[in-house]
């Protein structure tokens, strides 16, 4: 398990900020729209230039291109590749990683089952329901067993019941795989369901650090309850 450390990370949107996520811990980044939450995730993923340092498991990520960071990233718009089946969406990162065909097939089957989307393996993303697409995108983000998982408003487009079910499953799955996670959301209930603690960003500044708050709509108990 790898911990994440941000030291003086900043760009045109974000004021310099420090943040530490312990190995295996999930931290939610809360804040209003336009506060810089997604910018922070893109910086960690290597998609935006920035000042300061990003360290993962003690190793320097700063300056590394995104494909060499060993990070899983799932955004709100998912971007499953429409020309590939669900299974082939998962095969692709393993091909880039250089796994042979047998190892790829085993890993894809295992990950599809973990995310309960194995029954849709041969379908194209366009034919899936909203919840199934979220599961497929999550499976793709996890298939390389990343050291760090970045979730950007992962379940924003789903109805309340489906979101609640997915929160429970994702939280259990992340803990089972021991993956460190940084989760962007504007929903305190989602932060409480998915994260061990939360921080808040407003106007590009990390203003507060809190334990996840309880909410009537929470679907899993949090540590403070």
């Amino acid at each position: 398990m790898s911990g994440l450390r941000l030291e003086g990370v900043a760009n045109a949107v974000l004021a310099p900020l420090d943040l530490t996520v312990r190995p295996g811990e999930a931290v939610a980044v809360l804040g209003p729209s336009g506060a810089g939450k997604s910018t922070l995730l893109k910086i960690v993923a290597g998609l935006l230039p920035h000042r300061g340092r990003v360290l993962l498991g003690g190793g320097e990520l700063t300056g590394l291109p995104p494909h060499r960071r060993g990070i899983g990233y799932m955004s709100q718009d998912l971007h499953l590749f429409p020309h590939l089946s669900v299974a082939n969406n998962l095969h692709l990162p393993l091909v880039f990683r250089g796994l042979d065909r047998a190892a790829r097939a085993a890993r894809v089957a295992e990950t599809l089952a973990l995310c309960a989307i194995d029954h849709r393996a041969s379908r194209r993303p366009a034919s899936l329901s909203g919840g199934e697409r979220q599961r497929a995108a999550l499976a793709r983000a996890l298939v390389c067993r990343p050291r760090l998982l970045l979730l950007d408003e992962p379940f924003a487009n789903l109805d309340h019941a489906t979101r609640g079910a997915l929160w429970r499953e994702v939280d259990a799955l992340r803990r089972r795989l021991g993956i460190t996670a940084l989760i962007v959301t504007h929903d305190p209930a989602e932060a409480a369901a998915l994260a061990d603690r939360s921080v808040r960003i407003a106007d590009g500044t990390l203003t507060e650090r809190t334990a996840p708050s309880c909410s009537p709509s929470m679907t899993t108990p949090c540590c403070a309850c």
Binding site: H67, I71, V95, F96, R140
Partner: protein, 227 residues
């Protein structure tokens, strides 16, 4: 209508030469046009606009103007001839070069539009999935831009088949070497062989209709497959 076979040997030779020119030109156009379209869809600044303008010039230039400059560039006293050691004017290779330049905007623009419509996100997502920029281009960008590539290839092929002015300027009408369909039809009309002109012109009309219809149907199928 004159008696005899519908197509004589000279007409068949012309049709085959035209198809060979259009086929070779389309392959070269895709090889040159795809990276150019990618660069135009991603680059910024003044250079991009300058290059885009040069690519688009054949759309507005009279074919005779383009043909005139190409004739000079490929002629016996040009620097290009000195470098290559032989002139390209009035050769099949010269026709390919001229056709590529003349049809470039018809291939580059649909591919560029497809890349631009894709936006930056699929490439970013591919990068987070461990794809190097080259991997992402071949496994994500190209498949997503496939309808644009297909449209560009069809337009490039059809435009080359129908080309006349540039061909006449840089290739003349050497049978078996540069005498393509459009030039042959012009010759038949000039020598009042209207029956033969009808056969070739009618064939080109039918082929153009079939090509455009096929393009629209395949495009519709590709788009449906993704929805």
């Amino acid at each position: 209508m004159a008696e005899g076979p519908l197509l004589d040997a000279a007409m068949i030779e012309t049709i085959l030469l035209t198809l060979k020119l259009a086929g070779v030109t389309t392959v070269v156009l895709l090889l040159v046009g795809t990276p150019l379209a990618w660069w135009l869809s991603r680059a910024g600044g003044l250079w991009k606009e300058v290059v885009a303008t040069i690519v688009a010039l054949p759309i507005v230039l009279p074919p005779t103007v383009l043909g005139f400059y190409l004739l000079i560039a490929m002629g016996p006293n040009s620097p290009l001839t000195a470098i290559l050691g032989r002139k390209l004017s009035f050769t099949f290779e010269g026709l390919v070069v001229g056709s590529v330049i003349y049809s470039l905007p018809f291939v580059v623009n649909p591919i560029r539009n497809a890349f631009e419509a894709m936006g930056p996100r699929p490439m970013e997502v591919a990068a987070t999935l461990r794809a190097s920029p080259l991997d992402a281009f071949f496994t994500v960008a190209l498949p997503l831009a496939l309808p644009g590539l297909f449209t560009g290839a069809i337009l490039g092929f059809a435009h080359t088949v129908g080309e006349f002015g540039v061909i006449l300027m840089i290739g003349g009408g050497i049978p078996g070497e540069t005498k393509v369909l459009s030039v042959t039809i012009f010759d038949y009309v000039e020598t009042l062989q209207w029956d033969k002109a009808h056969v070739l012109a009618g064939g080109m009309l039918a082929m153009s209709f079939a090509v455009i219809l096929a393009m629209l149907l395949v495009e519709r199928r590709l788009n449906r497959a993704r929805q």
